[in-house]
Amino acid sequence: MSYKAIVIGSSAGGLAALKELLSPLKKSFKIPIIIVQHISPQSDNYITTYLNNLCELKVKEADQRELIKKGHVYFATPNFHLLVEENYSFSLSTEDRVNYARPSIDVLFETASFAYGEKLIGIVLTGANHDGAKGLRIIKERGGLTIVQDPKEAEVDSMPLNAIKESKVDQVLKLKDIADFLNRLG
């Protein structure tokens, strides 16, 4: 299977986890990665700046109507939902919070799965709520691959546990193994 995109959701403890997951990815890694990290509405762009310095891949905030490109890692902007259009571009929305969150992981996962169907990988990492569980189930239902961070390793385990409870996920892995797995995909 040649995957066309990877979506990742993380919440409490996410920054450290994302650092561990993204920094081993090689410069040649082709598949675009799109991330919702729960974050305070007022925060600036420190996450993307920080990770962009640490990673070989280009890390940036997803802009309104930007085309999704290979070799990029995109982050949802604080206080906006991030949606994937079926022509592989982004759009933003200020609609109400979903699962108490804006950006919401479910919103990203659901729209991305319409765009990419079975060619999508969904990953849920550490966090304290249940955002992402429904989205991951939908990705699975549409033939995509689903991965959850091993709850035993996660800084906060409820988001991984809720995702595992909601649907039969394909893999439960430690961050290091997720990174290895991704690197093997290309």
Binding site: Q64, R65, L83, E86, L92, F114, E118
Partner: protein, 284 residues
């Protein structure tokens, strides 16, 4: 399995296209150039909370029952707003735009897509503090009558006040936010003085014409719901509503940079998305 998903998704998209066509033909509201992912989310949301079987059934319901149409209209118009949303924007407005507006004897401002009015009253407060409220006419428009009704009342839930006070202070407010409202039970009622120069009106940016000639247009967090061609069309309308040298303010994630109207404007502040219409425009 995936084949069926792709097939089903294609059919779903056809149903949504037909639904938008039906709404346009029957009610005149044109959502055909709104962002597709957004519209799809809202339609599926409405479908899930109805007892209807498919979007085609929803279409039937909307065509024969205006109440259903009103529901979907509400679904499509995202009304989330707040007072002094993005305080740094209001600060910039105060510092960079207000001093120039002061040079006009009489000022007109248009809030396009004003939702429930919080943005409009924030502007009224700013104008009052700058001594401009008495000589300003504010037009505030939206295509959703429900939100306009709330906007006219200017009554908001009291539990928002803490956040609004914080925003107000960060925006460079020079008084106390509590000077502008009276608390009553679970609500705050904004002062009548703020309302005196505001006209709230129904206006659809997609299908209606230029609204007035104004010195400042504020259209924030509306264009993000439109596709590129509709955004261009609406920006053209906004541009035509401005006097030469007038100002345009967009939402933090919106920009004129890649639009056709770009050449008609100079950038006042890139981050806060404030633009100034050029004084003389050479026609191509």
């Amino acid at each position: 399995m995936s084949k069926t998903f792709e097939e089903d998704n294609k059919t779903l998209n056809i149903e949504i296209e037909l639904l938008l066509e039906a709404i346009f033909k029957k009610y005149g509201y044109d959502f055909r150039d709104y962002g597709k992912a957004h519209i799809k989310r809202r339609v599926l949301h409405r479908l899930a909370s109805s007892k209807l079987e498919s979007i085609s059934h929803l279409q039937h319901a909307i065509l024969y029952d205006e109440e259903y149409f009103k529901l979907i209209l509400k679904d499509f118009s995202i009304n989330v707003t707040e007072m002094f949303r993005d305080p740094s924007f209001y600060k910039k407005l105060r510092e960079e735009v207000i001093p120039l507006l002061k040079t006009y004897p009489f000022i007109k401002i248009w809030h396009a897509g004003c939702s429930t009015g919080e943005e409009v009253y924030s502007m009224a407060i700013l104008l009052k503090e700058e001594g401009l409220l008495d000589r300003t006419q504010i037009y505030a428009t939206d295509f959703n009558q429900n939100v306009l009704k709330t906007a006219k009342e200017g009554i908001y839930p009291i539990d928002k006040v803490k956040e609004y006070t914080h925003n107000y202070q960060k925006s460079g407010g020079i008084h106390s936010f509590s000077d502008y409202y009276t608390a009553k039970f679970e609500s705050v009622i904004l002062d009548n003085e703020l309302k005196s120069n505001i006209v709230f009106a129904d206006h659809n940016l997609v299908s209606d014409k230029v609204f007035a000639e104004v010195h400042l247009v504020i259209c924030r967090n509306v264009l993000i719901y439109f596709n590129k061609s509709l955004q261009d069309k609406v920006l053209d309308l906004l541009e035509k509503s401005l006097i030469p040298g007038g100002y345009l303010a967009l939402g933090s994630k919106e920009s004129i940079r890649f639009s056709k109207s770009n050449k008609e404007f100079d950038t006042v502040d890139d981050k806060e998305k404030i633009y100034k219409k050029k004084l003389s425009i050479k026609k191509a």
